[in-house]
Amino acid sequence: MILKRVYTFVTGFLLVTLLVMVPGGTAAAKRASIRVTGSTTVLPVAARAARSFMAAHPDVRITVNPGGSGMGVKSTGRGLADIGMVSREITDKERALFKDVDFNVMVFARDAVACVVSSEVYEGGVKRLTREEIKGIYSGTIKNWKEVGGPDRDIFVIDKEAHRGTRHVFMEYVFGEKTPAARGADLVSGANNEEQTKVSQSNSAIGMLSIAWINKDVRGMAIAENGKTIMPTKDNIINGSYPISRDLTFITNGPPQGVVKDFLDYIMSVQGRKIIKDSGYVPLK
């Protein structure tokens, strides 16, 4: 009983203190701050750039948070972020939600989305897929890897959260629309590192990932199209032959100004381009 009273007292006390202190606290912050949020594909670039930018500008504080492209668009639209990281186009629905917001889109790199599989599937003989095969797998009509020349194992189909940029771009190629329902899905993942983990933990998974996230456990499929086999590589992004490619963008509400503009300019500078390259993407010419 006594403990409970003490507990209630402490809770009440803390609440009151909080209410009193919050307005005073913010006045102390003097440094300029930039809030960046959104796509986990863009995140490595933003995080690395933020680190070196802050080293050169100690008076600027940049926080970079993941959440997906959808969150990047909405946070920027609502004024909760200064810069949104977006790895797809802003949808009509999103534009309709923010009629009064003038989204300024800055394209900084090209990337490709690969159809990825567990290494066991790749080594089991599946090294390329056609658009129709991927569509069959994601709609649930193709259920076993042997139907596409692989081992006799059920396909474990990994989908992504509907607002994710990677999913929009991938599905647009496979289904011809950005947000189809994938009836064949067995699991839904979110951020790129989550998708990467789930594919590598399985021995029969298929998923979708930016090519920068491919590794020895998570292998990128070549796309078979019109008698040609096109690998998901940087070269094929540059020469335009790989069919599932996209722009990586930073968006702002209106043209960027002040430190936000300085930071975005830095990303487009020589140092920024090196960061983009090191992150596995193709900087714009």
Binding site: T8, K74, L97, D186, L187, V188, Q201, S202, A205
Partner: protein, 299 residues
């Protein structure tokens, strides 16, 4: 200077904090209600019975999430109930002195571990173990989430049940023995029936923790908004209300029908958890420590 009586001062402070707490709870309820009105108007009953959650088409059916929450909670209960009460019997009735103290503190410590830690352990060990043990394609399933929750609420159920059993007057046990009951019989016929209120309360509090737990469930449940086929197949991916909120809350971000639908999910969860906690506390209200009487008998 101050003529304010100490008791009165304490009364004012406690009263104020009580009012703040109540106001907060009411505010949350009112907020969720107001925010979920649009989706209730748009979807009507199909918000609860609908099986399709398709943000792009603004269709919001929460049945898979409701099912997921009920399924993981039930699974957690099936796992934690016998184990929790069993170990409470051991700490309360069998262990004594130092050993009891150590085991009990250990359990209380387990109860305080944050959900995300369980979730990380779940991702690292549980999903793959469940997959291999049951020969599944993947270990991110409703069952895995239920199992993890069962482990998480076990300490809560155990320590609160232990409290309930310990609060029984020692003389009851003595009377049992005088009547010729063995130790085991005393536990079955005297201790368990006598502390049933406290145990029920403990279980309800455990259940409400299970229902509200988010991050650990989100990390292992698979996050697929679909009812399993057949419906009792918990060895497939699913979605609970909390994992859905965790996945989409930040993206929904206060806008449009999607946000309203998420608020609607929150409302369902809030009402259920509040009801369970409230009932749990009322039932447990009858339980009061009676240590002095214990001393009379043992001392």
């Amino acid at each position: 200077m101050f003529h304010l009586n100490k008791d009165r001062a304490a009364g004012i402070v406690l009263g104020t904090s009580f009012l703040i707490t109540m106001a907060l709870a009411l505010f949350i309820l009112a907020f969720l209600l107001a925010e979920s009105l649009p989706v209730l108007r748009e979807e009507g009953l199909s918000f609860i019975t609908g099986q399709v959650w398709y943000v792009a088409g603004d269709i919001y059916g929460a049945l898979p999430m409701i099912y997921g929450t009920l399924a993981v909670t039930l699974l957690a209960l099936i796992i934690a109930l016998p184990l929790g009460i069993g170990s409470a019997v051991i700490t309360s009735e069998i262990l004594t002195g130092r050993t009891r103290h150590i085991v009990k503190s250990l359990m209380e410590m387990l109860a305080a571990i944050p959900g995300v830690v369980y979730g990380l352990i779940g991702i690292a060990l549980l999903t793959t173990s469940v997959r291999d043990l049951f020969g599944l394609m993947d270990g991110n399933t409703i069952f895995t989430a239920g199992l993890l929750l069962g482990i998480m609420i076990l300490p809560t159920i155990m320590t609160l049940s232990d409290d309930a059993m310990r609060s029984l007057p020692g003389e009851l046990r003595a009377q049992g023995r005088v009547l010729g009951l063995s130790h085991g019989q005393t536990i079955r016929r005297v201790v368990l029936p006598g502390s049933i209120k406290g145990i029920t309360g403990a279980v309800l509090l455990g259940v409400s923790r299970a229902m509200g737990e988010t991050i650990s469930v989100m990390l292992v449940i698979g996050s697929l908004d679909r009812l399993p086929t057949p419906i009792y197949n918990v060895f497939t991916s699913g979605q609970s209300i909390t994992s859905k909120l965790g996945r989409e809350g930040a993206e929904g971000l206060g806008l449009g029908l999607q946000w309203s639908a998420l608020a609607g999910l929150g409302l369902m969860l809030f009402i259920s958890v509040m009801a369970l906690t409230f009932t749990g506390n009322i039932i447990r209200g009858g339980v009061r420590p009676k240590k002095s009487k214990n001393h009379e008998v043992t001392g």
